[in-house]
């Protein structure tokens, strides 16, 4: 299935959960926050939140800023 992560299309296996996406993106998920269709998915719910075709996700982290 296809979802959109930070605006770009990304192929994930059917039935993938948020935790699968995180594992695919990084080995070190500290300091990352995820929004699914504009709702925050808390870290404690990554493992139980399933994704579906066309979902829009934002994956953000802290960077330098003033």
């Amino acid at each position: 299935m296809q979802v959109f992560v930070n605006g770009d299309p990304l192929e994930l296996k059917d039935g993938a959960r948020v935790s699968d996406l995180v594992a695919q993106l990084t080995d070190d998920p500290r300091g990352i926050a995820i929004e699914l269709n504009r709702e925050i998915v808390p870290k404690s719910k990554h493992g139980e939140t399933s994704l579906t075709e066309g979902d829009r996700l934002e994956v953000v982290q802290f960077v330098g800023g003033g």
């Binding site: 990084t26 300091g31 926050a33 925050i40 953000v60 982290q61 802290f62 800023g65 003033g66």
Partner: protein
């Protein structure tokens, strides 16, 4: 040291807060933060780079274990965007102390006070501790304090301009009216600007570009540390009165 800066119940020895943008590298940033003696740093929240998600990370150089991270809303032009950003920041870091800024236009980055006040109210209702970037308008500063902001942070001059404190009278009025810390945020160009902010009675200074864009950022960070301490000490010591004519420092009696 008993002269602590207290923000939202947390105590800080340093009155200098620094940004983490515009540095050559996060490593240089870390060195500057240490030279500045800072205990609190502002940070931004941005999309993870999906093509290289494991690129150099701020937190590996400027650790949130060592420094209080103050997530900002730089780049937000509406209250809704700012609230959304800070909710994500709270999820990313687990902290509720934040720096709110809602800007009006790209050219001046001047704060939009109507949107700022509206965002501050929404965030406070949602349990955030809000340090707020604002114009040097004493009326809005009071409204933000009454809304429950834990620090009022008026600009000295425009973000990144290095033009120093353009309206010391207003900064002083804000300081006199406030019962929460007042921190000059934006505009500081060099050490004397930081000292001036502190001599006006401000509780702290927040700066980014003055250090990051100095020819030697680490040395400038050190200069700013001294300037903030000097300005604070001078304010607490109480300056002498201004006089129109000379007043000799050596005794007149006993002159040959």
């Amino acid at each position: 040291m008993t002269d602590k800066l207290i923000i939202a119940g947390r105590e800080y020895d340093s009155r200098l807060i620094i940004g983490t943008g515009k540095y050559k590298s996060y490593a240089q940033n870390a060195e500057a933060a240490e030279a500045a003696g800072a205990e609190m740093v502002t940070v931004a929240l941005r999309r993870v780079n999906l093509s290289n998600p494991d690129e150099d990370r701020l937190q590996d150089h400027v650790s949130p274990e060592t420094y209080t991270y103050l997530p900002n809303t730089a780049g937000c032009f509406t209250a809704d965007e700012a609230v959304r950003t800070l909710r994500l920041a709270r999820e990313a870091g687990g902290w509720d102390l934040v720096k709110l800024e809602v800007l009006s236009d790209q050219k001046t980055l001047y704060p939009d006070m109507e949107e700022t006040l509206s965002a501050a109210k929404a965030l406070i209702a949602d349990g955030f501790q809000v340090m707020v970037y604002c114009s040097d308008d004493p009326v809005y500063a009071k409204k933000l304090e009454e809304a429950g902001c834990c620090a009022i942070m008026p600009l000295g001059s425009l973000i990144g301009s290095g033009l120093g404190i353009q309206n010391p009278l207003n900064i002083r009025l804000i300081v006199e009216n406030a019962r929460v810390p007042v921190i000059v945020d934006a505009g500081v160009g060099t050490a004397s600007d930081a000292a001036m902010a502190m001599e006006l009675g401000c509780d702290g200074v927040l700066m980014n570009t003055a250090i990051a864009e100095a020819k030697d950022p680490v040395r400038m960070a050190k200069a700013m540390k001294h300037a903030v301490i000097a300005g604070r000490e001078a304010y607490l010591a109480g300056r002498m009165g201004r006089k129109r004519y000379a007043d000799p420092s050596s005794p007149l009696a006993g002159l040959i």
